[in-house]
């Protein structure tokens, strides 16, 4: 098991090095893209700022707190995008064109192999903006950066990330039956937009959906609200862990079942 992880890690390093090299080749393009992404996020923050020029607080949350939640939401999103982006290609073309064949002729777990094959450097922008926004709120929000909380912060991030990865794995697996599922991943993935704001702004139905069914709220608002208020760690953080574990388990099960009914393509 350990040996296998080591091998996979070694492969992953080769791919990461390769993607970084490619990045150097397209430096100008990459930097323009990064800049574009920052502009986009700045517009969103500007929008929040305009809103808060008219109101003192949004359902009890201050401008800085909203920025903290918004910044927090970008961290797991960025991590998933950075490391697990290749699942999209399963939904868009790997299965439909029969290119998934090659993963089955290799003595490694196909899911793992698909995932490590791409390191999506584009995602670094999300991560940087997230860190910057959180850093900007330090001292302006009442987060207790005790040793325990810092530890919890870093511990909860991988789980929040796996919520994204789990949802992508489940929806990508649909392609094994329908050939293409890119558009299904797309719809579910974009629901993460709801996670950027306090759940109290939504109506009951929507709140329950993003808490219990497609639990994106656990990637950002709930854990962030624990750090902001110190309340309900069991629900706010424990929920994130449970959601991640449940989604990844379902994801792996559906994936494995899907691989069995994979029908390849061509003659």
């Amino acid at each position: 098991m350990l040996k296998k992880l080591k091998r996979t890690a070694k492969m992953h390093r080769i791919f990461i090095a390769q993607d970084l090299k490619k990045l150097m080749e397209y430096k100008v393009d990459f930097l323009t893209g990064m800049f574009g992404f920052m502009v986009y996020q700045t517009i969103n923050i500007l929008f929040l700022w305009i809103i808060f020029s008219g109101i003192p607080a949004l359902k009890g949350w201050s401008y800085e707190e909203i920025i903290f939640i918004y910044g927090f939401s970008l961290l797991p999103k960025g991590l998933d995008h950075l490391f697990f982006d290749n699942l999209w290609s399963v939904g868009y073309w790997l299965v439909a064109k029969g290119d998934f064949d090659k993963y089955l002729t290799r003595p490694l777990n196909p899911l793992l192999t698909v995932i490590v094959e791409k390191f999506c450097v584009d995602a670094i922008g999300e991560f940087i903006v997230g860190v910057a926004l959180i850093a900007a709120t330090i001292g302006k929000v009442s987060v207790q950066w005790s040793v325990i909380n810092v530890l919890l912060f870093f511990l909860i991030l991988p789980f929040a990330t796996l919520i994204y990865t789990g949802i992508k794995t489940i929806t990508a697996s649909v392609a094994f039956w329908t050939k293409r599922s890119g558009h299904i991943i797309h719809v579910f993935y974009l629901m993460n937009d709801f996670a950027k704001y306090p759940t109290s702004i939504y109506n009951d139905v929507l709140r329950n959906v993003i808490t219990y069914i497609i639990p994106f709220a656990f990637t950002a608002f709930y854990p962030a609200s624990y750090f902001l208020t110190g309340e309900n760690p069991l629900f706010n953080l424990g929920g994130t862990v449970i959601a991640a574990v449940v989604l990844m388990t379902i994801g792996v099960l559906v994936w494995n079942k899907g691989v069995k009914s994979y029908e390849s393509a061509g003659s």
Partner: protein, 337 residues
Amino acid sequence: MIYVDSIRKEFKKTIKQPGLLGSVKSLFKPKTEKVVAVDNISFHVPKGEILGFIGPNGAGKSTVIKMLTGILTPTAGSCTINGKNPQKNRKSYVKEIGVVFGQRTQLWWDLPLCETYAVLKEIYEVEDSAYKRKMDLLNEVLDLQDFIKSPVRTLSLGQRMRADIAASLLHSPKVLFLDEPTIGLDVVVKDNIRRAIAQINEEEQTTVVLTTHDLSDIELLSKRIVMIDKGRNVFDGTVDELKSNFGQMRELHFELANEGDLTKLEYKAKFGLTDEDVTVKNDKSKVTVRFNSDCVPVGDMLSYTLSSIHVQDISVRDADIEEIIRRLYKKEVIADA
């Protein structure tokens, strides 16, 4: 080594229903029909043999290969290779096989070739010393050094195929599956690849299963062929047996000096041939005569033609594999009736 016992593969095909309403309906309750791609095929390949697996487009060759390599699960029947079931012991099984699909690369598009091999080395857990030895051998057999530092996307089709074959051999597989390894390549590259396959087979006693459209692949590489059509096994034996059983069709091509001369040629009367054994087709002055060389020697055909009329550019070719298969069917139909 390879035992295939009456395997069968059915696919479900969704039937498109016309109109918007139809497509909404098929979204929720798709109408499907069963398509049998492979129907009750059995064969056996001993260790170290090169087996040619042939048949026309859509015969089910690739489906069989995909079942043998563990990509598809057979609907019925079983295959055992190296004592393993490709579906049940997938990970340990695929370590012992190499696979090349001619129409699709397993190399990483953006990676330089040497990096691809470094990744595969990790995937297949090849020891450093064995890896070095293997790379030296493959370099020698397949001439990789000219493009080993180039990204795969920049390789020509011939280079890519050589690279793909090398990739499939890196871990010294006991069985090598090649699906159309010479498709779309020019004659020189084809020849290079055939020699490489023969050499690897010789040196490492690798069992090879090869599908192809090109009969010369088979003639140069394998003694034994399995031929399928419409998912069924239609022939299993040596190349010589195929030729003697089904007649060796040849084609005589020439151009007439005077277009009217064609009527002067009376092959059937001269050699006493039936419609089955000789056909004459012409496009203006260009003539193709297809004949069974078991019934009449090539030399006789040539000398009769040359002595009867004036011709330009005469040549003799093997009839293609499609032709043999076509004839094979005729015989079968006759035999059944």
